[in-house]
Structure formats: structure tokens, C-alpha cells
């Protein structure tokens, strides 16, 4: 039953993301989610292998420490503190988040749990995924979108961690590759956006349209 505490933390952190405007809060929450993720494999049944230990260490160090640090560096360089004028207000965001939670549970409950760990794995993964996507589509700043992407990654990782025992290494490699790509390539591009437009709003990035 201890795993349910983990889930509640995930849900709360997700709603925190939806309701907050400070970029530093985002980063702290994402860091928290990274640590939560690293704990997740310990709850699965079966023996604790060296493989699991290694994975949880890698996860904790990258998602809990490395990425947040890189992002806070980027924020400092770009001199932005908070997300202003999101497309969807914070109150509405929370409400939509609630709807997303319900939908996730609706879909997740239809899927037979892949492992005996918890019945909520799929639902939680979907919900976190949804929150990440929602951040991308409702916020204005390029950096918030990158943050949203990381949240999404976390959601995916929930599923991945639950399946770690069945999973070949390649899938785990996938998560890391994905995250690296996101941080590095997006970081480069954000740097260019910053240089080109002197700020990181994506408002100017709508020239290409029909």
C-alpha cells in the first residue's frame, strides 16, 4: 500500500505544475518526480537485481539532479522567472487536469495491470503524460514547453519503470536517449531563439502558416 503514497505524490505534483507560474517551482517539481521515479522499481515484485539498482541510480541522478540543474542554468541565462499569460489560465488548467485524471483512470482501468505492483500504473502514466502535453500546449514560453516535455517523459517512465523486469535494456536506453535529445537539442534551439528574438516567447514563432 505504500506505493499509493507515491501515486498521491505524483498526482499532487502534477496539479502543482498545472497551477503554478514560477519556473523554479516547475523545476523543483520535476526534480521531485525524477526521484519518485527512481524509487518506483523497488516496489515491483520479485528479487531486487543489480539491474534495478543501477537503473534507479541512473534515473535519480539524471532526472532528479542533472536535468533540473541544466534547466535552471538555461533559465538563469535567459533571465526569465515566471510564465506570463498562459493560453489557458491556472484555474481552468486545474479543472482540465481533473478531467484528464478522470479520463486517464477510465482508460487505465480498462487495461489489465501489466504487473502485480499496482492497478494504477497505467492510469498514472497516462495522467502524467497528459499533464506534460497540456503544459506544452497551454504555455507560451519555449522553456515551459521544454519543461512540459520533461513531465511527459516522466509519465512515460512510470510505465517503463513498472515494466523494468520484463524490459530489455534497449527500452530503458530509449528513455535516456529521448531525454538527452530533448535537453540538448532543444537547449541549442532555445539558445538560438533567445539570440534571434531577444526573448524566449514563442509568440514570434508563428510566421509559418497558411
Amino acid at each position: 500500500m505504500t506505493i499509493d503514497i507515491l501515486w498521491i505524490l505524483f498526482i499532487v505534483s502534477n496539479f502543482f505544475l498545472l497551477g503554478s507560474s514560477r519556473l523554479h517551482t516547475y523545476i523543483r517539481v520535476i526534480s521531485l518526480q525524477g526521484f519518485l521515479l527512481s524509487v518506483l522499481p523497488w516496489f515491483s515484485e520479485g528479487p531486487v537485481s543489480g539491474h534495478i539498482v543501477a537503473m534507479s541510480l541512473i534515473n535519480g541522478s539524471t532526472k532528479g539532479i542533472l536535468f533540473p540543474w541544466l534547466l535552471s542554468q538555461a533559465i538563469r541565462r535567459a533571465e526569465v522567472r515566471r510564465e506570463i499569460e498562459p493560453f489557458i489560465g491556472y484555474g481552468s488548467s486545474l479543472f482540465i487536469g481533473l478531467l484528464g485524471l478522470l479520463t486517464s483512470f477510465w482508460i487505465g482501468n480498462r487495461l489489465i495491470p501489466p504487473t502485480a505492483t499496482s492497478v494504477f500504473t497505467a492510469a498514472m502514466a497516462l495522467f502524467t503524460l497528459f499533464v506534460g502535453l497540456f503544459l506544452i500546449m497551454s504555455r507560451r514560453k519555449a522553456i515551459t514547453q521544454a519543461l512540459g516535455y520533461l513531465v511527459m517523459e516522466n509519465g512515460i517512465s512510470i510505465l517503463g519503470m513498472a515494466l523494468l523486469q520484463h524490459d530489455p535494456v534497449v527500452v530503458e536506453l530509449g528513455i535516456l536517449l529521448d531525454a538527452f535529445a530533448a535537453i540538448f537539442v532543444m537547449g541549442i534551439i532555445m539558445f538560438h531563439i533567445n539570440q534571434e528574438f531577444d526573448h524566449m516567447d514563442t509568440d514570434r514563432l508563428n510566421q509559418l502558416k497558411d
Binding site: 497528459f130 506544452i136 508563428n206 497558411d210
Partner: protein, 656 residues
């Protein structure tokens, strides 16, 4: 068959010759090759038509469902002969007409002729469609040969789009036909019972729309009055004379795969025929561009062919063999006749254009004196297309009329459509005569209305000869219609196989009538010659001198005071103005002492103006609203992804 293949290869080769040799004499070689190819190709066609024999060859072709399967049977041969004949004549004509300009157009010309040949002799669906589309493309390039002109581009576009949409229906038709057997070979379509593939009405509709677009059935004709005037005249002649007939060919060949015809097929065709015929000729009347006028007459003549087919289908569905024989006979014969006189008329119009550099009828006049040979050829064409004896147009219309009369019987359901067909044909005939008395009268008679016309000169032999040849053909069929009857006998027997027993009886009835017409035509010509001789002997010497035309006492008559084409047609166009919707720019002089005034009337196609253009605009505006989708914001795009994801999940995970 080997001759046909040789002809095809030679045709494409000699057309391609013009691509590589940029020498002034290279068109000459191309044309020589083309004419030789046509002459070679015509041999097996004539043989098949005369003996009723058919042959085919099949070569492997590595396209799924496709096979290089060509064949000649009487029906094919009947369409091949005008193709070869008119194409070779028009090629000779084009040699002088183009004067070495646009050498590349010879490549497309060769391709066009070859594609037409492939289309009518293909025995495999894929090959047919390939020929069909190459035919469209090559003629598209010919239409836009002078693409620096706006009209040519517009015409080309309209043509291309219309042809493309028509082809889409053909694709459906072929695929539905091949559904039961899975093979695209025509042989496998035979003996198909429609219920096992698709409802017959669907196939029928697809065929009529698909082939009708090419043929120029009335609401689908819009490309035709644009494309024909834009093309070089020898190409117009080929397009109008034989290319649009491939649509008729398609109908004749494929409708018979659909099982027993229903009466409503006949009614549909008669309806199409009346619409195309009457409205076509009315629009022709309202035009003052000579080639556009001729193009509308193609619509009209296609209408006449459709009337004949309608009569034929009524006969088939009602079990009345004479009706079927006369109807289809008339229709098939009109295909040949139209090729002759419309080819002739387009060549004539081309000669006028070549010599005067204008095709506006209102700027011409008095050309008969300057261009006697062109003039008399054009006159022959004009009389023939009006369906007047003793020329060929009369023969085919006569057969359709006779079919209508023959089919009349009280309380029979097909009497109504037959009467409609007959009356419509009469109206078409009257209006066509009106239109061509205008076309010939204003262009060739009277005084020149402009400097263009005054400076006209007769064209050279390469242009004169094809026209005279075709005029001779018109007269030949007009005087010896029984010859033509012999030519359509085998195609008819092939079309209506279950009637083969009674075919001879029915044909001999027509033959009796036609031989009497033959005598009458001979007598008529004799009588006219007699009168002419009398005039020559007795009165010609008694000229009391010559004078100006009676001018009602007006002091300074000028050539510009002559009746123009527009004023000539005005009573009729006024009468039908609700249909024609002519547009007027400027106004005629008013008051007792009118000042300078200027009046232009235009009669654009009413279907294009009132239907296609608004509909296209409507669609475009509607779709333009959807373009907000691509709004430029990344957030929105991600939103699409989320919505799609949720939608597919809700859609597919409903019932676990």
C-alpha cells in the same frame, strides 16, 4: 495486326523525330512519316471493315492487370479509318499551316494519333486507360501550344481538369466491370451479368459521365468550346473530328457489356441528345468566333449521335429491331460523317485564320473571291453539317429520322421520346442551317469588313488538298449512301449480335430507301447542272451590265454597313435569350440623332457561368475556411495531437 503495330511505331518515331532535329525541314520528315504510318494502318482497318473479320495480338506487359492486348474488329476498324484518314490529311495541312513553327508540336501530334489508335484498338482496360490518358495529355499540349496566350492557358486548364474528372469515372467503371473476374481484359467483361459486379445503373452512369465528358455531352462539354478554338486548326480538326468520337466509341463498346439495356437508357440518351443538340447549336449561333462556333457545333453533332443511340437503345429494349438498326446505324454513320465535314470545316476556318489572321466573323467578308477553293470546300462542309442533301450529313440524320418514324405506334411508351427526338432533330437542323448560312454568308460573301479580310489570299496546295479531299468525301457519301451502309453493316452486326438474323432485313429496308435517295441526289445534281447549263447557254451573254448592290438610295454605302454575324443571328438569340444569357457591353445608339456608340455582345457558356464557376468558387471558399487549421502556433499543433490521441482511445477502447 503487324501492320497496325508498324503503323504505331512509325507514328511515334516520326513524331519523335521533330524533338531531336531542330532543322527547318524536320517537320516535313515527321509529316511524311505520319502519313505513311496512317496509310499503313488503314489497310488492316479497311480489311476488317469490309470482311467483318477480327484479329488480335497480345504481348506481355509487366504491369499488374495490364496486358499489351490490341485487336481490330469491325467496330474498331470503323473508328480507325476516320482517325487515320483525318489525321494524315490534317498533318499535311499542318505542314503549311504551322510554317515550321512549333516543331515540338509534331511530337505530340504523333503521340495523339497513336494514342487514339491504341484507345480504340485496346482490348485491355489498363492499356485503354493508358491510351486514353496519353490522348488527353498530348492533346492538352497541342491545345496549349501557344501558351503565351491567356485563352490558350485557360482552355488547356479547363480541358485538363474536365478530362481528369471524366477519367475518374472511367476508372470506377473499369474496376467495377473487372470485379467479378478480376481481369481487366475486355474478353472477361463479355457475358457479364451486371448483378454480380455492381448495379447496372451505376455502371451506366459512370460510363455516360466518363465517356460523355470526352465526347462533349451537354453539361459536361465546357472544355470543348474553349479547347478547340485554342488549338492550331489542324489539331482542332483532329480533336473535333475524331478525338471526341473516342468517347462515343467507349459508350458503344462498354454499354453493351452491361447486359440488356433498359428503356430509360434510351430516354437518357435522347435527353442528352436534345440538350446537347439544341443548346449546342443555339450557342453556336450566338458566337462570332468562327472556331468557337464550330466547337459548339461539335457539341450539337454529338447530340445528334446521342439521339441516334437513344433511338437505338429504345429499339433494343423494346425488341424493335428496325428501330435499333436505324438508330445505331444513324449514330455510327454520323460519327464518320461528322469526322468528314467537321474536319473540313475546321481546316477551312484554319485557312481563313491563316490568311486573314482573324477568326472573328464580324471582321471578315467577301473571302469567296479571294479564296475560291477554300470557299467552295467550306460551303460543302456547311451544307453537309446542316444535314441538307445531297451531302453526307443528310444520310445519317435521315436514318435517325426514319428510325423515329418507324418506331411510332399508338399507345407505345417509346412514342413520346421518339417524337421528342424527331422534333428536336428538326429544330436542330433548322437552327444549324441558320447558323451556317451565317457562318458561310458573312465570312465568304459580301464585301470585306476589315483590312484583314481585304488582304486575304488563297492558301497553298498542302492546305487546299485536304479540304478538297474531305469535301469530295462528303459528296461521295451523300450520293452513294448505300456504300456507307455497307461500311456500317459489320459494326452493327457486332454491336447487336442477337439481331444478326434480322439485321439483313432491316438493313435492306434502309438500303432501299437510301438507294432511292441516291437516285434523288443524282437527279437533283443533274437538275441543277441542267439549270446551270441553261443559264450558261441562254442568259449569261445577256448581262445588262453590272451595278452596285441596291442601297435604297443611301449616298455613301460602306462595307461596314453590311449585316454582321451578330445582327444576323440576333432574332434567334433574342428569342432564346433566357437560355443564352448573352452579355452586352456598351449600348446601341439612342435618340433620333445617335452619337458615337459602341456595342459588344458576348455569349459565354451558360453552364460555366451559371453552374461550374459558382460551384467551384463555393467549394474553394468553403475549403479556404478550413485553412485556419494551420494557424502557425505550436501549441495548437500539439493540441491536435492530444485530441487525436484521446479521440482514438475513446473510439477504440469503448468496449474492452
Amino acid at each position: 495486326m503487324i501492320l497496325l503495330w508498324t503503323s504505331l511505331v512509325l507514328m511515334i518515331f516520326s513524331g519523335g523525330l521533330s524533338l531531336f532535329r531542330r532543322h527547318p525541314s524536320s517537320p516535313r520528315w515527321s509529316v511524311a512519316g505520319l502519313v505513311t504510318a496512317c496509310l499503313i494502318g488503314i489497310v488492316p482497318a479497311v480489311h476488317s471493315l469490309w470482311t467483318g473479320a477480327s484479329s488480335e495480338t497480345r504481348l506481355p506487359w509487366n504491369i499488374p492487370g495490364g496486358a499489351c492486348h490490341l485487336g481490330i474488329d469491325p467496330l474498331t476498324a470503323f473508328f480507325l479509318i476516320p482517325i487515320f484518314l483525318l489525321s494524315s490529311l490534317a498533318a499535311v495541312y499542318g505542314l503549311e499551316y504551322l510554317q515550321g513553327k512549333q516543331p515540338v508540336s509534331w511530337f505530340f501530334y504523333g503521340l495523339l494519333v497513336a494514342a487514339m489508335v491504341v484507345t480504340v484498338s485496346a482490348r485491355n482496360g489498363i492499356l485503354f486507360l493508358m491510351g486514353w490518358e496519353i490522348m488527353t495529355l498530348s492533346s492538352f499540349f497541342l491545345v496549349t501550344a501557344e501558351h503565351e496566350k491567356r485563352e490558350a492557358r485557360q482552355a488547356g486548364w479547363t480541358y485538363l481538369v474536365a478530362a481528369h474528372i471524366g477519367t475518374a469515372f472511367l476508372l470506377v467503371l473499369f474496376l467495377l466491370l473487372s470485379r467479378s473476374s478480376g481481369s481487366m481484359d475486355f474478353d472477361s467483361f463479355k457475358g457479364l451479368s451486371p448483378s454480380e459486379t455492381a448495379p447496372a445503373w451505376l455502371l451506366f452512369v459512370c460510363a455516360v459521365i466518363g465517356f460523355g465528358t470526352k465526347a462533349g455531352f451537354m453539361p459536361l462539354h465546357i472544355w470543348l468550346p474553349e479547347a478547340h478554338p485554342a488549338a492550331p486548326s489542324h489539331v482542332s480538326a483532329v480533336m473535333s473530328g475524331v478525338m471526341i468520337k473516342t468517347g462515343i466509341y467507349g459508350l458503344l463498346r462498354f454499354l453493351f457489356y452491361l447486359g440488356a439495356p433498359s428503356p430509360w437508357w434510351g430516354w437518357t440518351f435522347i435527353g442528352i441528345g436534345l440538350t446537347s443538340g439544341v443548346i449546342g447549336v443555339l450557342f453556336a449561333l450566338a458566337q462570332h468566333d468562327l472556331k468557337r462556333l464550330l466547337a459548339y457545333h461539335s457539341v450539337e453533332n454529338i447530340g445528334i449521335i446521342a439521339l441516334g443511340m437513344g433511338v437505338g437503345f429504345l429499339g433494343l429494349s423494346g425488341g424493335s429491331t428496325p428501330l435499333a438498326v436505324l438508330g445505331f446505324g444513324g449514330a455510327v454513320l454520323h460519327v464518320l460523317n461528322h469526322a468528314l465535314f467537321k474536319g473540313l470545316l475546321f481546316l477551312g476556318a484554319g485557312a481563313v485564320l491563316h490568311s486573314t489572321h482573324t477568326k472573328d466573323i464580324d471582321h471578315l467578308g467577301g473571302l469567296l473571291k479571294k479564296m475560291p477553293w477554300t470557299g467552295i470546300s467550306f460551303l460543302v462542309g456547311a451544307v453537309a453539317i446542316s444535314g441538307l442533301p445531297p451531302f453526307n450529313g443528310f444520310i445519317s440524320e435521315f436514318m435517325i429520322y426514319l428510325g423515329c418514324f418507324k418506331g411510332l405506334s399508338p399507345v407505345h411508351p417509346s412514342t413520346g421520346p421518339l417524337i421528342a427526338a424527331m422534333t428536336g432533330l428538326a429544330l436542330i437542323g433548322g437552327l444549324a442551317a441558320a447558323c451556317f448560312s451565317k457562318a458561310f454568308g458573312i465570312v465568304f460573301l459580301g464585301e470585306p469588313r476589315s483590312a484583314h479580310a481585304a488582304g486575304a489570299h488563297e492558301v497553298g496546295m498542302p492546305m487546299k488538298f485536304p479540304m478538297m479531299f474531305l469535301a469530295g468525301g462528303c459528296l461521295l457519301i451523300g450520293i452513294f449512301p448505300t456504300l456507307a451502309l455497307r461500311a456500317i453493316k459489320h459494326p452493327l452486326a457486332q454491336l447487336i449480335p442477337n439481331l444478326a438474323v434480322t439485321l439483313n432485313d432491316d438493313l435492306s429496308m434502309a438500303e432501299r430507301a437510301l438507294s432511292m435517295i441516291s437516285w434523288s441526289a443524282g437527279a437533283l445534281i443533274g437538275l441543277i447542272l441542267l439549270f446551270a447549263l441553261g443559264y450558261r447557254l441562254f442568259w449569261r451573254g445577256r448581262r445588262g451590265g453590272s451595278a452596285p448592290t441596291w442601297d435604297c438610295g443611301y449616298a455613301f454605302p460602306s462595307a461596314r454597313m453590311q449585316y454582321t454575324a451578330s445582327s444576323f443571328a440576333q432574332p434567334l438569340t433574342d428569342l432564346f435569350s433566357p437560355l443564352l444569357r448573352s452579355e452586352q457591353i456598351g449600348s446601341p445608339g439612342k435618340d433620333l440623332f445617335p452619337k458615337d456608340s459602341h456595342l459588344v455582345t458576348e455569349t459565354p457558356d451558360v453552364f460555366w457561368k451559371e453552374f461550374y464557376r459558382p460551384v467551384l468558387h463555393r467549394i474553394q471558399n468553403l475549403l479556404a475556411r478550413g485553412r485556419i487549421l494551420q494557424h502557425g502556433r505550436l501549441q495548437l499543433y500539439v493540441f491536435y495531437i492530444v485530441i487525436t490521441l484521446i479521440a482514438v482511445f475513446l473510439l477504440e477502447m469503448r468496449n474492452p
